[in-house]
Amino acid sequence: MANALDLKRQPGFASVAMICCFVLYAPIAVLVLFSFNANRSVTRWTEFSLDWYVRALANEGIQHAALISIEVALAATVFGTAIATAGALATTRIRRSRGTNIAYTVINMPLMVPEIVTAIATLSFFALLRTGLGISFGLGNLMIAHTVFCIPFAYLPIRARLENMDLTLEQAAADLYATPWRTFRRVTLPLMLPGIIAGAMLAFIVSLDDVIITLLVAGPGETTLPLYILGQIRRGVTPEVNAVSTILLAVSILFVTLFFFLGRRQRS
């Protein structure tokens, strides 16, 4: 309807959004382009070549690093978002007491402490666990460390979403004798979903890119992709990393497209 569109239109906003998209994807286009560069340098183009893909597929180190990155990011996202959702529910839309303010500060603590401090402390803690009590979770150590800093990144968007939601729908459900759990599952959760998805996306991104905490907490065989690349900087980064990043990108786009079609199918 022309009227509805008119209502929502703000001058210039669409152009800004389009420019945003273009600018966001420009470096990605460059990244993909240079994965086909015959030259060893990540910064000069000579000719088209699939060499780096061949090398990447034969390079166990980089594949292992990519897999570990994804494993850890997935685990941290799932657990972090779940914990953050619970935390957001518990701290919004209620009377602002001292308790909520304290909870709010604590939840955002991992965001505020500089990473290196968290990294050293976490490493020392796990070392203590291992030498004192003999407990070690293997890759779980890294997953726990990632979950911790993913929580605030998931929490803030979910909370923002919750603060904007009105309660009438939930009260209506309660009036219709729905139990709190049912109200949550059928009314609250779907309404919160954009916030949860936003939070999960941010948590995933943050975990994938983490360097300092991972650098110190990862044990043998737990090198993630950022660590792998960082280690190469002194000796020259090769376009193999471009190739791996492009492959990962293609896989994630595929995954997302599948998710969409399944979603469409479900909805209809």
């Binding site: 997935l74 799932v78 070690s136 890759l139 779980g140 737990e222 280690g231 002194r234």
Partner: protein
């Protein structure tokens, strides 16, 4: 949603299970990134029936911080010369006595009694090299064998210089240019150094470790560099020349050492012995592009390496200087100079 949860739980469970015990016949190497020859590892794995994992770090300091804070599971680390002395004094390395190993006789005599490990009780040579700088002679073809290029550059090189982002490399170069000793406590001399660095900084474009990339992309024409990296850059910029400044330059050696709390000490010792063999040392050199410390490896090395001016120093070049770690007071002073430079 539930499916996602279960998948995630399964993944986590797998990870827990996988991380539990270190099976026998393993070796965990913690080395610089992209510094270990895959060929060498394959050969070692076959020869001794050992599964090897390699993880990479980006600097000695990261490795030290991590080991000090309690990271475990690594068997082998590859510290630089000064870092070996630090780790020995901190009690972090195991005394594996490479001097008693079978292949020890192959180590060149000059590397047997070094300041960081006299008599070689802890470590074995991996690679060694020099830190100086490279100049693109197509841009400037005058005399480059002097540190004046970095601190008082000719007009055409101003603003086209990259320095290493390393306290020691920058400060040591500055001290050499001024003719002052290394590990310097003299406040007056350090003040002079500070002023020199500040005035030279305006001619430096960047201070970064990715030297090859800076040169090949045309961002800079001069870069403080390690000799092997300079050689690799020369393949893309044939006019790049590695300088041997008469004021002096740093020599360094990376060494293979075993951690005290290593889970696989026996395999680690086997590895130390393995790399002292000339053929294997050559494998390392061919991959990492630096000299190794083992006699007789030349015949197995790439001919390009045995003739390179970066590896074979000209006769009139001063001897490379191996700088031991400085004591606390000096480190604090250097810190002040560095912060002052970079604020």
């Amino acid at each position: 949603m539930t499916r996602l949860f279960t998948t995630a739980a399964a993944l986590v469970g797998l990870a827990f299970a996988a991380g539990q015990a270190f099976a026998a016949g393993e070796l965990h190497i913690y080395n610089w990134g992209n510094y270990t020859s895959p060929e060498l590892i394959e050969k070692f794995e076959k020869a001794h029936d050992v599964k090897v994992t390699i993880d990479g770090y980006d600097s000695n300091e990261t490795m030290l911080a991590k080991i000090k804070a309690g990271a475990a599971g690594y068997d082998i680390v590859v510290p630089g010369d000064y870092m070996v002395q630090i780790m020995v004094s901190e009690g972090l390395l195991a005394e594996t006595n490479p001097s008693a190993m079978a292949n020890y006789k192959n180590v060149e005599a000059r590397w047997k009694d070094v300041y960081w490990d006299p008599g070689r009780k802890y470590s074995v040579p991996w690679q060694w090299g020099t830190t100086s700088f490279g100049v693109n002679t197509a841009v400037y073809d005058g005399d480059i064998d002097t540190l004046a290029i970095l601190f008082d550059p000719p007009e055409v090189l101003k603003g086209r210089i990259n320095m290493l982002n390393d306290i020691n490399d920058v400060i040591n170069a500055g001290l050499r240019y001024l003719g002052h000793p290394r590990c310097n406590k003299d406040k007056a001399q350090l003040k002079e150094l500070s002023q020199l660095l500040l005035s030279a900084k305006q001619h430096w474009r960047t201070m970064d470790y990715s030297t090859i990339e800076k040169l090949t992309s045309g961002d800079v024409d001069v870069s403080q560099n390690w000799n092997g990296a300079s050689m690799r850059a020369r393949k893309q910029i044939p006019t790049l020349k590695y300088a041997y400044p008469r004021e002096g330059f740093t020599g360094w050696m990376d060494n293979v050492a075993v951690l005290k709390n290593a889970p696989n000490t026996e395999n680690a010792k086997l590895f130390q012995d393995f790399i002292m063999d000339p053929e294997n040392a050559a494998l390392i050199s061919n991959f990492a592009r630096y000299a190794n410390g083992v006699a007789g490896s030349d015949k197995f090395m790439d001919p390009e390496m045995t003739a390179a001016p970066e590896i074979i120093m000209p006769a009139n070049a001063p001897a490379p200087e191996f700088v031991p770690p400085c004591d606390k007071e000096v480190v604090d002073l250097y810190n002040k100079v560095w912060t002052n430079l970079k604020k």
